[in-house]
Amino acid sequence: MSAPAVMPPIKRYTGVMDWLTTVDHKKIGLMYFWFVLIMGLVGGALAGMIRIQLATPGAVWDAVQAAQLAGEQLPFNLYSEDRHFFNQIVTMHASVMIFFVIIPGLIAFANYIVPLMIGARDMAFPKMNAFGFWLLIPSAILMMTSFWVQGGAAATGWTAYPPLSLKGAGINPGQDMWIMGVHLAGLSSILAAINFIVTITNMRAPGMGWMKMPLFVWATFFTSIIQLLATPVLAAAVTMVLMDRNFGTTFCDAMKGGDPVLYQHIFWTYSHPAVYIMVLPAFGAISHIIAAFSHKKTFGYLGMVVAIGSITALGFVVWAHHMFTVGMPTGLQAYFMYATLLIGVPTGIKVFSWIATMWGGTLRFTAPMLCGIGFVSLFTIGGFGGLILAMVPTDQSLHDTYFVVGHFHMVLVGGSVLALFGMTYYWWPKMTGRMLSETTSKWVFWLMFWGTMITFMTMHLTGAAGMARRVPVYYADFKILNHITTFGYALTALSSLILFVQLLLSYRRPKITEDDPWKINDVQQSFEWATSSPPPVYNFATVPPIPVADQH
């Protein structure tokens, strides 16, 4: 369908000014997307610095020191003289990846696709939408430039536990800049969440009842609820640290009657739901991708919706499983163990339903489909680690080890990032009107799949063998395992670089003319495939032209 002639001219500027002033959800979605790609390279580079440092043990600290004093060159111990720098890198890797890659990455697609999917012309609050995106820029600038202030960037991990995060108050502004950055990113999240909730509630096409909404819209809706309810809690937690550091309050200062554990509770009240912010939209998108390339409808639509809903609800009441070693009352530990395990049930329903969706279909193994299947496989493995960690007795051995690092990276990289790759391949033709090379895309997928597998499976083993996380040096016992992990990292880095270049070069490829280049919409019947690629400004001139599909 071509752009309607009836729409009034809405462009006030062209070129760069057009992008700077746009309130079009599609352009904002694309800006989110490129912001995320660039920050992804930054976060990946930080991960690379960690992996280079950890490639060799440096474990016998005294031997390292001795070698330095003897004037020997240690090419890989980049930070052995300044271990503080290593902690800064660890903190910033996590912060960049969480606040500037995975969360906005999923928002990028939600921004572009959700209004199309529900047949709306734009988001409910287009200007607020643009404001939410532009808030991320100063937030990222604050965090990244803090490397160059006195004392360097925040070096307390992305959890910023006091009393460690209270150190250097008034002298080293890195931690304060990190907190302000989190505030801005959080505000951006909250604005996006409000926008999505209002848009999805009020702007669906006529005939699209709640139970006819596509799953990606459901997932975005529940994610927005989590963001709206949880993000202010994070703001409260980091504000406590900010006040303690600068204004003489003592929320977290045990020496003046505060309690460092209070911060941990408040922090995880946000940060556990936050892990579902980082994966629920991926759940929704994967449902579409798997159904599309199986040429079927999603299996168990109602079950899928209920599962996302119960994950949302349960996500709010399990936070303290991040704190099984702080010495909580036994009954509380038992409760959090059981509640955490319960999340496995809806998650299991989703995995089983994806497989049932494939059952009996005609599977086409395009790049997005490979990413979808890879997601199901790796996410199951990552979730399995979660079940092991949920058991308090075992967790007291595995807490704060590389097992945990392996677990959440398996879920976030094998899950969310692979899903982001899949969403990119799936929707890129729609977003830019340009097909990507299937061969290159499949290379990217397989490199990412095996890179993730090697890197993070090995991390599980390293942690179970006894290596703590966030350490720049380690016992020589873990040498071989860390060699393997660093090799796996190289594969994932290569994969990401290829993807980046592939997307850049895609703008030189010919434009496609089809509305539905994947030839799936006879079954999917989703609005975004019923408009041109890319869709015209304001998406739909009239009420969307195909009947609203039954999802079940």
């Binding site: 070693t325 049930v345 007795p393 006894g466 020589a476």
Partner: protein
């Protein structure tokens, strides 16, 4: 069941990386030599053998548990895995099968059109719920065991643990004996007795830390402003390595922990040695690598030392601390001496001390 889990579990493969021997076991002996004592009570946890492999390999709770709690945690974990594994393996197998069976062969096969199956959905919701009940009950019991005081608490070794940036201070509460950092600034091991419950009451001087020795199967945060505690009963002799497990600042990575588990005889000897430790400082100052080691001065100091008591334990303690200090210093790089030179000087100084001691003891 446990064997089944062992064979099928990928974790087993994993952890065998870090599970070689648990270090040299020490046979009980009435009068161990000073060198044996140093080797046992002050092991070098970073030492590498000729093949660049650690002399004291790190052990972990899953393949080499070394306390009663650790054994329970390990077997509980294998039991959980036996229940969990089908939920990992079956979906992957079915997924692989579906990928093979339902690939589009371009033969005009029409895709199925079903969109749900209530019976199936109820079954795959109910079965995981039952599995959760099966894992949660034993874990619950073990959790209570870990949290309640140990059986035999009256004979427990109670240790007060203080975390600080970036080392640990230990104090045996029964007789107020302290362990901390040695003369070279290296963290000393926490010495515990085999088959005797150890209770650690822990707090922090500055930021949060976490005390963790993998093989003992416990980890607890060490938090300023409050006490946390754990207990376990070590049941294997040997050297156990661990480290701080809560980010605590720039030295977090080198905040090592080690623990030596010895028999009751050796434990008694060790406490005797600790008791006399402070009195040996002045003599050490005379015998340290950089000191002049004046014979006359040494003789008067040794005489002073013996004034307070001249039992075999006190004499042994003097010899032990000089020897163990040399062992520690040899591990840390010195500006002008190699570690071989330090050891060589140590042998000479210890001989000098032995001669002075022999003279002083026979003088009376």
């Amino acid at each position: 069941m446990r064997r089944f889990a062992l064979v099928f579990s990928w974790m087993f493969v994993a952890m065998s990386f870090g599970s070689v021997a648990t270090g040299a076991e020490v046979a009980p002996s009435a009068t161990p030599s000073v060198d044996t004592l140093v080797k046992t009570l002050n092991p070098d946890i970073f030492a590498l053998d000729a093949n660049q492999r650690p002399v004291h390999a790190i052990t972990n709770v899953f393949t080499s548990p070394a306390s009663d709690i650790a054994r329970d945690v390990a077997s509980n974990n294998w039991y959980n895995l036996a229940i969990y594994l089908p939920f990992l393996i079956l979906p992957q197998l079915v997924l692989l099968f579906a990928i093979y069976r339902f690939r589009d062969r371009k033969d005009g096969r029409k895709p199925a059109t079903f969109t749900g199956n209530h019976t199936l959905e109820i079954v795959w919701t109910a079965i995981p719920c039952l599995a959760l009940l099966a894992v949660v009950v034993p874990a619950w019991k073990l959790l209570w065991k870990m949290e309640l005081p140990p059986a035999g608490i009256e004979r427990a070794v109670v240790v007060e643990v203080r975390g600080k940036e970036f080392a640990w201070d230990y104090k045996y509460q029964a007789d107020n004996l302290s362990i901390g950092q040695d003369v070279a600034g290296i963290q000393e091991p926490l010495v515990l007795e085999k088959d005797r419950p150890a209770i650690l009451n822990m707090t922090s001087n500055d930021v949060n830390h976490a005390w963790w020795v993998p093989s003992f199967g416990v980890k607890k945060d060490v938090i300023i402003g409050r006490y946390t505690n754990v207990w376990f009963t070590p049941d294997t002799l040997g050297v156990f390595k661990g480290q701080c497990a809560e980010l605590c600042g720039q030295g977090h990575g080198i905040m090592w922990i080690s623990s030596v588990v010895v028999d009751s005889e050796m434990f008694k000897t060790y406490r005797e040695l600790l008791r006399h430790r402070n009195d040996t400082v002045k003599i050490w100052n005379l015998l340290a690598p950089a000191a002049v080691a004046d014979d006359k001065e040494l003789e008067s100091q040794v005489a002073k030392y013996l004034e307070k008591g001249r039992g075999a334990g006190r004499v042994l303690a003097l010899k032990y601390w000089i020897a163990t200090n040399y062992a520690s210093i040899a591990r840390r790089h010195q500006p002008d001496l190699t570690s071989a030179q330090v050891l060589e000087r140590g042998v000479a100084r210890r001989a000098q001390l032995d001669a002075v001691l022999a003279r002083s003891l026979s003088a009376n």
